[in-house]
Amino acid sequence: MEKILPPINAISQPYWDGCQQGVLRVQRCITCGHLQLYPRIFCTQCAGEDLDWIDVSGKGTIASYTVVTRGISKAYSAPYVVSLIDLDEGPRMMSSIVDSDGTGLEVGMSVEVAFEPWSETIMMPVFKLL
């Protein structure tokens, strides 16, 4: 059984290309500078449609987390940590914290992105404690 792989589309392709290259990217509005994730065809702040991508530091803090002890399928070996990460640059994203079984984790802890090969074409951004 395989893990759930992201169905990449034209709008998100630069994000996943970045992951392949070992950088985390978020979408930036050229007009107002707003940063957003997930990527969209317009800026949610100013409604501008000129958007590009910037590399972010990959550092962030834990906004929340849970230790999943009953996994969603056999491809996910429990326990595993699902977390919401606030990137230092602003946007929030869901990810895993891969170097923790949950012991001692707390909201507010600092984390940094890492990349795991999940298929020949997918490098998944995951996080490790700093």
């Binding site: 992201p6 990449i8 994730l37 997930y38 999943v68 869901m94």
Partner: protein, 390 residues
Amino acid sequence: MTTLRGKVAIVGAADTEVGIVPNIGATDLCVRAALSAMRDAGINKDQIDGLITCDSMAEPIMYHAEAIAEYLQIFPRYCMSVGTGGGTTFSIMHHAASAIATGMADTILIAMADSLRSGLTREQAMLMQSSTGHPQFEQPYGPTVPAYYALIGQAHAAKYGTTAEHLASVAVACRKHAALNPTAQMREPITVEDVITSRMIADPLHLLDCSLVSDGGSAVILTSAERAKDFAQRPVYMLGVGEGHGHEHISQAQSLTTSAAVESGQRAYQMAGLTAADMDFAQLYDCFTPTVIVELEDLGFCAKGEGGPFAASGAIELGGSLPINTHGGMLSHCHPGNPGSMFALTESVFQLRGSVAPERQVKGAEVAMVHAQGGIMSSHTSLILGNEVN
């Protein structure tokens, strides 16, 4: 702008058998609920000119409401199905009331059922429900439905100090009420200790912090307040209704600890001209215990951050200042997926008619808050029901 306050009433309400109901599919169960509600209202099917249903996961039908109308051999002039549950279930009450007020239909049947327990494998039920996550940016990380809600529970604990015992007190209250309800799926009383020592599913949620997986169906019949007086049952009026829609994906929520129940509640209270203090009981969406804590706060039953201590005080039990989920809720009565919140609605109708068994009846109940949310605390609808229009 005209208000919907007091314009429509629920004149029929019924549940099917719930829990483990094998040997009957979701479509048949939906029709069984519909027929029971018509019987309760004392009408025959030809008097229904509007139909709203919710699609089933176990037996999905593309044109669900049309299929149910065809099965019943009714030919409504207003017919619509929705695909999701929770808050959506109650937002269709909003739509139905508007349809009656504007003359699109006179008497609307709302019926839904599903067989998550007998019609799907455990894995299927889990995967279908977790597909609420973003396909690219959430689902690959393997969040289960409990995991999504655990993120809310954990954030609430970190911000306000909500404890496992606080969460457990919600499950204990619901079970206590289910023990008094012969139709409930789980009736064996439990303690806080039982909850916090039950198997961890997604920290901080233990098994008994999670709602059930059930089969079941439920239906109500809505008509105008004027017409309602001619029906067999004491009408239960919609005094207020409000919606709030904050996000779909939890990673996009503006807040993990405050929900759009704030807006849906305010809108409903404003229409009704009532406040939280006026409510004799409340039915709060309890797919997982933290949702009840957040809803108690966001609907104004206690201060923000105080939901845990409020629940643990016993206030939410029958006999307390605000009994909640008097049928046992989805934690203990039943949770067949999308139709889950319907049972809170029918229970509220029975409570406001005063027709519940004496040990479960909220004494002198006149007005109630009935709230549901869908997604991951995403879309909220608050209903205020009452047995008089003053």
